[in-house]
Structures are given as C-alpha cells and as structure tokens.
C-alpha cells in the first residue's frame, strides 16, 4: 500500500490503473481533464498497459467503451457535465447492452449560462439510463468505489455499468491523503473480466438486434431485476472490501448520528463531510441532528430511507440540482419511497449549491435549525431555494 496526497481526479486515474482497465476511451472536458492526462502519463511512462483511445467526442467515447466491453475488455472512461449529456444516448445503450463499464463523472453544472462548478444536474439528468450512481464524499471513496464497482457490475447476474461521481474542484482538484492499495491485493479482490458471451468469430452472435414487442419488455425486466439484485451485491462486496482493505462507506446510504436525531439532513456528495462537522458542533450545543448521505442514487436506497423514517420525524433533503416543474430529484425519490409505508416524517426539500454556490457550515447550520423548529407538514414551503438573491423563498 502506498499513501499518496492526491486529488479526486488523480484518485480516479489510479483507480482505473489498479483495476487494470484494458480499454479506455475518453475525451477532455473541464474539470475532468486531469483524470485522462494522468492516465496518458501512466501509459506514456509504461506504468499502465491499456489501450487508450483518444476519441473525438464523449459520444464516441461511450460508443467505443460499449464495443470494447462487448469484445470482452474491462473498460473505463471519464467525463463531466456537457460531455455526460452528449453521451446520454450511449449511456442507455451501455446498460441495454449489459456492459459493466465504469465511468468517473465530475459533477459540474450544465450551461447556459456557462459554469464549470459543482452541482448534480448532469448526473441526475441520467437517472433513467440504467447506470448505478455513486456520489462520493472523499478522494479515497472515489478510488475505492471504482474497484468495488467493477466487482459489482461484472457479476454475471448484474452486468450493469457504474458512474463514480465526484464534485467539481471540491474533490476533483483538492488533494487529500489516499491509500493506493497494492496491486496484488487488488488482483486478488478483482479477477479479470470474463463475460459469458462476447464478439467472437468462433461463437458468432448478434448483439442488440431488433426484437418484436413479444420480447422487448423481457429484456428491460432483466435489467430491472439485476438493478434490484445489485442492492444486496453492493452490501456484500463492500463487506468483502472492508475485510481486505479496512474501509467501508455505508453501502447505499451512509448514516451519521441518526439514531436519536430530532432532525436529519439528507444529502449527496462532498457536502456530507461539511455536514458531519456541523453535526458535531451542534450536538455539543445539545441539538440532536444527524445526516443521511445518499451514496447510491441508483439503485435508490429505498429500505434505508424507510428505516430512517421510522427513526426520525424530520428529514430535510438537500438537492444540488432541480427538476424544473417540481422539486429536487432526491426529494422526489424520498417522497416516493415513503408513500407506501405508514411513516410520515416531515420532509422538506432544500435546493442549494447549484453552479458551485458554496454550501458552507453556516448554510447547513441554518437548514438544521430550520428543520428543528419546523412543525409544518403538508405543502407549505415544501420546496425552498436556499440563498437565492432576490427570491422570497430564500432561507432567512
């Protein structure tokens, strides 16, 4: 094991390297570029034997990854924001073709207006593509999630691609100490990719042909089944990973100080670590607050949310993106998960941190305090935009 002080992007590149990705197809976009630059330097220095295809667009990056994966190679790519949006068609292709590609995505706001800073709109807009989504809190989690995602995705009964998500600049360009596991230990944890079927002249098949209505739904159902099955696989693989490497991240949802909490904020990404600091401070002041970190958004941690709703009466969901028309995407999932149960905590939706607007400890403390005093359930101020200039719904 090597201890390195590296950025989230560097951690991503190391993840692809020690996972021994055989084909990488990628296209540069801010703030993802230093991932592929690092990979290029690994390759140029002979440290990493991989086929690095420097494609002419993100759309082609994903098309090449799908084809390489179906030819039997472990594949990796990285993107962000508009690059991810351009890939959209091929993201759906990747899951439909059952290719367990792993991709790093640096969460960046979409234009216009142009912004290169963090929010979650790019990945949330890919909710329905059939990819697993992991929102990371630290650079270590970025690296570890790549290794675990290959293991989870490549299981013959799963065969689903994964998106490892890190916040623009806050993780992508900020250095932290990261343990880079030894290659032998990684090889032992993650055997080579060996799909049951691949493009092979000795065993010729068509991959992705036309199906009539009598079969199409069956193909889609199998993806749905695998995605549901992935929930248990995620937990199992993380247990195995923890045994070998001594680290774990809470499976699908990472809880902090929720057991006796009066109010909990639910949030994804690096802001979770700010929230943990705020919770420690507020608890010293006698305020019982906690955190539910959305680690996996797909598959959605339905059981975890229902468990949480039995424990706490107030949940503030902080969305770093917005679905124009009604509400933030995480909040919508929470409402949906709770509807069939009898538990009705007060759920509020805060829209915050879009386009890199800082979610500071002060902002989080205000949201916690607001949740602690609120007794409103129902529709009044169900969705609040936090700290928007000139907006009446801004939190005072």
């Amino acid at each position: 094991m090597v201890k390195a002080v590296i950025s989230g992007n560097s951690a991503s590149a190391y993840g692809a390297k020690i996972a021994k990705a055989e084909v990488i197809a990628a296209y540069p976009i801010t703030p993802q570029t230093s991932i592929i630059e690092k990979i290029a330097s690994f390759v140029a220095n002979g440290e990493f034997k991989t086929e690095f295809v420097k494609v002419e667009s993100e759309h082609s990056a994903m098309a090449a990854c799908v084809a390489a994966s179906l030819t039997g190679a472990r594949t990796y790519t990285a993107s962000s924001s508009h690059g991810l949006l351009l890939m959209h068609e091929m993201l759906i292709w990747a899951s439909g073709a059952r290719t367990p590609i792993v991709m790093s995505n640096v969460n960046r706001a979409n234009g216009p207006p142009w912004s290169v800073w963090a929010d979650q709109h790019d990945t949330m807009a890919q909710r329905d593509t059939g990819w697993m989504q992991i929102y990371c809190e630290s650079n270590q989690e970025v690296l570890d999630s790549i290794l675990m995602s290959y293991k989870i995705g490549e299981s013959p009964d799963i065969m689903i691609p994964s998106m490892i998500i890190e916040d623009a600049f806050i993780l992508s360009h900020t250095v932290e100490p990261v343990d880079i596991p030894d290659q032998d230990a990684v090889d032992d944890f993650l055997p080579p990719f060996a799909p049951e079927k691949k493009l092979d002249p000795d065993d010729p098949h068509g991959f992705g042909s036309l199906v009539m209505p009598e079969w199409y739904m069956e193909f889609r159902y199998k993806i749905a089944e695998s995605m549901d099955l992935a929930r248990d696989r995620i937990r199992e693989v993380e247990k195995d990973f923890e045994k070998r490497f001594g680290r774990s991240y809470g499976g699908l949802m990472d809880f902090y100080e929720v057991e006796d909490a009066d109010a909990v904020l639910m949030i994804g990404g690096s802001v979770a670590s700010t929230a943990k600091e705020v919770i420690d401070k507020m608890r010293k002041e006698g305020k019982k607050v906690g955190l539910a970190r959305v680690r996996y958004f797909r598959p959605f941690p339905v059981d975890e949310v229902r468990w949480l709703a039995k424990k706490v009466n107030k949940i503030g969901v902080v969305d770093r993106s917005y679905c124009f028309g009604h509400g933030g995407p995480i909040a919508a999932e929470v409402y949906g998960a709770l509807l069939p149960t009898g538990d009705r905590p007060i759920v509020k939706n805060f829209i915050a941190g879009l386009g890199g607007k800082d979610i500071t400890p002060e902002v989080l403390e205000r949201l916690f305090n607001k949740m602690l005093v609120t007794n409103e359930s129902g529709t009044e101020k169900e969705i609040e935009w936090v700290d928007v200039k000139g907006h009446s719904l801004g939190v005072e």
């Binding site: 098309a63 390489a68 292709w93 002249p201 010729p204 098949h205 991959f207 042909s209 036309l210 009539m212």
Partner: protein
C-alpha cells in the same frame, strides 16, 4: 473457362428480410466471402440493422454488434482496441453503414476513427438515401433525385446539391486505402476487399448498392442498373492507395440518359437538368482520369 475467383464459402445464409432486388444484400454476401469467417462487424441503424432478421434469428455467420446511428467509427475503434488489448491480430474489424449513417450522422465518428489510424475496414454501402426509414434524402443522394423529403411538387423541389464525395473526404485524411466497388462487379469487389484486408490501418470502401424500392425501379434490374452506372460514369470503379489513384474499370463512357430513364426517382427532370447531370458526369470522369495520371506521375517522381 476462366477460373472462379469468388470464394465458395457462404457466411450469409438465405432468410434475410431485405426487399426484393436489394443491392445491399449482394454487397454483404460478397464482402463476407472476401473477408472470411474471422470477421467482426458493427452495424448502426440502417437497412442492415433489420435485414439479418428479428431476435433470436440472424442470417449471418459472423459476430455482429448493432450500434447507434452515428457511432460506427467509434464502435469499430472500441472492438479493435479490445482485440489489441488481448493481443488478437487475426480478426478483421468491419464497420458496415449506409450512406446516411456514413456521410451525414456518422461522419464525425468515421473521421475520428480514420484520423487515429485505427486498423479497421469501414464500408459505406450506398443506396443514395435513408432507405430504412422510407427514402429520405441524404447528402449522398444524387442531384436531381426525388425522395420523400425532396418530393418535387409544384415548386420543383428535387435534390439540388451534388452528392457528397466520401472518397475524396477519406483521401484527404491520408489513409492508406480507399476504393469504390459495385455489386455488379463481384470479382473486382473481392479483389479489392482482399487487398484492403492485408493493409494495416484504416481502409474506406464505397459500395454502390441499388435500391429498387427507393429508386422506383424494377427489382430485377438491380445488377443491370449497377452495370450501367459504371458504364456511364455515374459510379466509376477505382482505388486510391496512399494518395495514388487507379481506375480499375475504364470504359468508353455511355450516355447517362438510359440509366436515369430506368429509375422513377429521376422521372420529373426537364431536359436542361438532364443535360446538366450529363455535363457533371463528364467533368467528374475527366477529373478522375487526370487525377490518376497526375498522382501516378507524382508518385514516380517521389519514388526517384
């Protein structure tokens, strides 16, 4: 009797679901005969995405990856990269796309793949419009043609622009091999494909494949029309190796009118438009003759 040069092995079985008289089925059959069984093919949205048959059936005896419309160049890049990663070098990787999938929506991925020097063969089977969606114009539709999106009408809205020249675009990429071929000349086709197969790097093949359905012609005229196209200079057969042009069939050009007259898609054209088409063909043919002469001369000079 002349020796048969067309391989006997069939890698395309009967049972495809193409239209009666489809030129693209002949193109696939001959191509697979030329390249053999150790071939992987990637096919985007086009007639050939449907023609192998509906799941779980296929009429092809080689592995085929169906891919999205604009991705053929990227898809074959991915297959080649995976084979390279595994040290497999005896498989020919083929991208097989229509004219719309190549000259329009797929041109970026194709340009990228050949610019990267990818060791693949890219085949554009050209039926001169979006035929799978029901005859809409593409940039490879010839001047004067009726399609459902150039429907003539009272404003004489037929295709006004010239056909996009994919061979010239590929030659400009400085790839090692580019060739045109026609389903009417299978020996020429197989010879060129087998030559291309031995060349490392990107190869671009333009196959002329008549479409009776879209060209409004009798389905028993497919081969005849294709022969006429080469005889009148509409579709010359030539190859370009490292920038050097060689015309592989050099007929005394016949007039274009009988070729146009067999196809309903040109029925509306007035005499001056037909004269214009003849004029353009003559110019293109003369230019090709000069290109052959000039590039061969240049090559000899550079060789000295």
């Amino acid at each position: 009797m002349a020796k048969l040069t067309i391989p006997e092995e069939e890698l395309m079985y009967p049972g495809h679901v193409g239209c009666l008289g489809c030129g693209a089925t002949l193109a696939m059959r001959y191509m697979l005969k030329a390249l053999g069984q150790r071939t992987i093919i990637s096919v985007p949205a086009c007639c050939w995405a449907v023609m192998p048959g509906v799941f779980p059936l296929t009429c092809l005896k080689i592995p085929m990856l169906y891919t999205a419309f604009e991705t053929t160049g990227a898809s074959i890049s991915g297959i080649r990269a995976a084979l390279d990663a595994k040290g497999i070098d005896d498989i020919t990787v083929v991208g097989w796309a229509g004219d719309g999938g190549t000259a329009d929506i797929g041109i970026q991925a194709l340009s990228g793949a050949v610019e990267r020097g990818t060791d693949v063969m890219y085949v554009m089977y050209d039926n001169e419009a979006y035929m799978n969606t029901g005859v809409q114009r593409s940039s490879a539709t010839p001047t004067g043609a009726w399609t459902t999106t150039t429907p003539v009408g009272s404003t004489k809205d037929w295709k006004k622009m010239p056909k996009k020249d994919m061979v010239e675009i590929m030659v400009a990429h400085k790839i090692p091999y580019t060739a045109t071929m026609s389903i009417a000349y299978p020996e020429d086709m197989i010879k060129k494909l087998q030559k291309a197969q031995k060349i490392k790097g990107p190869k671009f093949i333009h196959i002329y494949a008549p479409c009776p359905t879209g060209w409004r012609m009798a389905p028993d005229k497919t081969v005849e029309i294709a022969k006429m196209a080469t005889a009148c200079g509409v579709f010359p057969l030539y190859e370009v190796e490292n920038g050097v042009y060689t015309i592989t069939r050099k007929p005394e050009l016949k007039p274009v009118m009988p070729y146009l007259a067999l196809q309903g898609r040109f029925r509306h054209l007035p005499q001056e438009e037909l004269d214009g088409i003849q004029n353009e063909i003559d110019k293109k043919w003369n230019r090709l003759l000069k290109l052959e002469e000039f590039t061969k001369e240049l090559d000899e000079m550079e060789g000295d």
